[in-house]
Amino acid sequence: MDTSTLTGLYRDMWLIRAFEQGLEREFEKGNVPGMLHTGLGQEATQAALAWHLKATDAFFPDHRCHGINALAQHRHGGDGERVMAELFGKATGVCSGKGGSLHSADPAVGNFGDNAVEGSYMATVLGVALAAKMRGQPNVACAIIGDGTVGRGEFHESLNMAAIWDLPVLYACVNNGYAISMPVGEGHASADIVDMVQGYGFESRQLDGNDIVEAWTVVGEAVEHIRSGAGPYFLEFKTWRWQGIFAGEFRPEAEVKYWKEERDPIMLAGEALAGRGVDQAELDAIERETTDLIEEWIAFAMESPAPDPVKATADVYVGWEVDSR
């Protein structure tokens, strides 16, 4: 990986971090309604995925993917601030505030929307992939899922169907060690999810989700494989989320310390860049610029109007209107 790519990824990761930190702050102030799950700590995984996915691909983001959603806008000419505004439930959001954190979509940049029923888009992704295959398009359909999703029946139905039909699906399983409070190895037959997908007979790989160089390289290979028509690919990113269990933290202190202090993907990338001679001022500038940008987005979201009440009854059906109050 050349230094300019690594620098770009470093910037992308900072965009995610700044986004989530700013959002978390506003959430605590009560400006962001509903629930909030952040992608803090998982920036390398997300940046690597966002980098290789094109606007013509499709990804189904999970509940921690605000960062990917924002990067997709950024990379494919959309408006990142609309991702922010969606989380505030505003008229300017990507779904006019109707979807929120767990249902943000923007097909123009390849974002096919989260589904807050964990695992359900494991089934949906098949259809996007099948359509691409039937049409002869070299598109990738990517489902970004947490380790918790592995418990769901749809996990199996999806992998089996992708296997028998050789579909262009990238399964990006973000194994951050826990599903809420459930340790991955206690909830599943194996703590290593790759072990559980061997039976489907397609390519799979476990990788370090906090090492941006590894993540970017492996995702690139997997995407290439899929685009070439060689069938599905399952990636397990070993990573860790900074957010505990809601407010609380059930995980061992040493584990928290290790991941936050020694395995911070941005820190690691910063060190790598420093090792390549990039100076601290440049890195600081990236941090400052992305943080400033996010503050603009937050300001935009804050200032945006609430959705027009007519939106409440719009688009239930294409062919019918429904009654308003």
């Binding site: 979807g99 992704v125 239930v316």
Partner: protein, 347 residues
């Protein structure tokens, strides 16, 4: 409420006059097969998917011949993965395909209930209109053949309270074809209910392409004394009851809902207001069934027109037992409708 497909003539589809000399008596299953064939010719982006629908042509033969004509890419057999079947349809629909799924028995829609209710039905709304879900889920429902508790259910009640889904429920071969073609044309997701007891019913079905508009009921029989509102198998039973009532001098109007959600309140309420005596017939259990919605709506909106309470005819509040004599107890029949009609006629 505006009809999705206003191009098709209101009610005219039942037996278009100019098509009369070309008509043939075909079975309900064959009418559906025709519709699928015509739709696949029309829509390149359409495919059919389900268990044993390709070489075997489906459990009831509705997809027969499609594999040979359209090939395995567009006529796809699947494993027993109902959630993945509907998920596949949902995803494909998101990118502009027009999938038609077959869920072998309606009872198995429980397996993909989440996909239907939380994904397909909400997709257009929750993503602010950015996606559409133009898919059709065909499925064989209803009892009366000793199928037992998992092969006999009337499932419309499972979806009545779910905004975003269209429920279509034909009662005869002509509508079956026209409604299926309209469902495939529709940009909304359609749950298309095929009552198994109707599969062998026959009628003169125009061979050409035509659509029967969604969201519009039909007056299956005109009458001025008592209105019977029904769908699917309850319609022929209501017509039978109407014959019987006619002998007793009671003129029954039978409203065939055809679309259950969103339903054609205008036609239903007009008939109820006209006769002032209403029977609602429904194969599913009474509590929380389609009959409840219709009875409530009619009672509320035709309050001063009603000469007596709406009479509900329903299945009993039980699962469907295997044993045929027990099933006969549980399911309503023409006699039950006839009895309800005479009750109403006395108001």
């Amino acid at each position: 409420m505006t009809a999705a497909d206003t191009a098709a003539p209101k009610r005219a589809a039942r037996t278009p006059r100019k098509a009369r000399d070309r008509v043939r008596k075909v079975a309900f299953t064959r009418a559906l097969n025709d519709a699928l064939d015509l739709a696949m010719s029309k829509h390149d982006e359409m495919f059919v998917i389900g268990e044993d629908i390709a070489e075997m042509g489906g459990d009831f033969g509705v997809t027969k011949g499609l594999l040979a004509k359209y090939g395995p890419e567009r006529v796809r057999d699947t494993p027993l993965s109902e959630a993945a079947i509907i998920g596949t349809c949902a995803g494909a629909a998101m990118v502009g395909m027009r999938p038609v799924a077959e869920i072998m028995f309606a009872d198995f829609i429980a397996e993909c209930y989440d996909q239907v209710v939380n994904n397909v039905a909400k997709m257009h709304y929750m993503f602010d209109g950015q996606f559409k879900a133009p898919l059709v889920i065909r499925t064989a429902c209803g009892g009366g053949f000793g199928g037992g508790p998992h092969h006999s259910q009337s499932v419309e009640g499972w979806f009545l309270n779910v905004p975003g889904i269209v429920i279509v429920a034909p009662s005869n071969p002509v509508d079956a074809k026209g409604l299926l073609l309209a469902s495939i044309d529709s940009d909304d997701p359609v749950l298309f209910l095929e009552h198994k007891a109707l599969y062998r019913s026959r009628a003169e079905v125009p061979p050409e392409y035509y659509t029967t508009p969604l969201g519009q009921a039909a007056i299956a029989r005109e009458g001025s004394d008592v209105t019977v509102v029904a769908a699917m198998r309850m319609v022929p039973m209501a017509l039978e009851a109407a014959e019987e009532a006619a002998d007793a001098g009671v003129a029954v109007e039978v409203v065939d809902l055809r679309t259950i959600r969103p339903y054609d309140a205008e036609t239903v309420l007009a008939s109820a207001a006209k006769t002032g005596r209403v029977v609602v017939a429904n194969e599913a259990p009474k509590i929380g069934g389609l009959g409840a919605e219709l009875s409530a709506r009619i009672s509320e909106e035709c309050f001063s027109d009603l000469k007596g309470p709406v009479v509900r005819v329903d299945g009993l509040d039980t699962p469907i037992p295997f044993s045929v004599p027990l099933e006969d107890v549980v399911l309503p029949d023409a006699q039950d409708i006839a009895a309800a009609v005479s009750t109403a006629a006395q108001y």
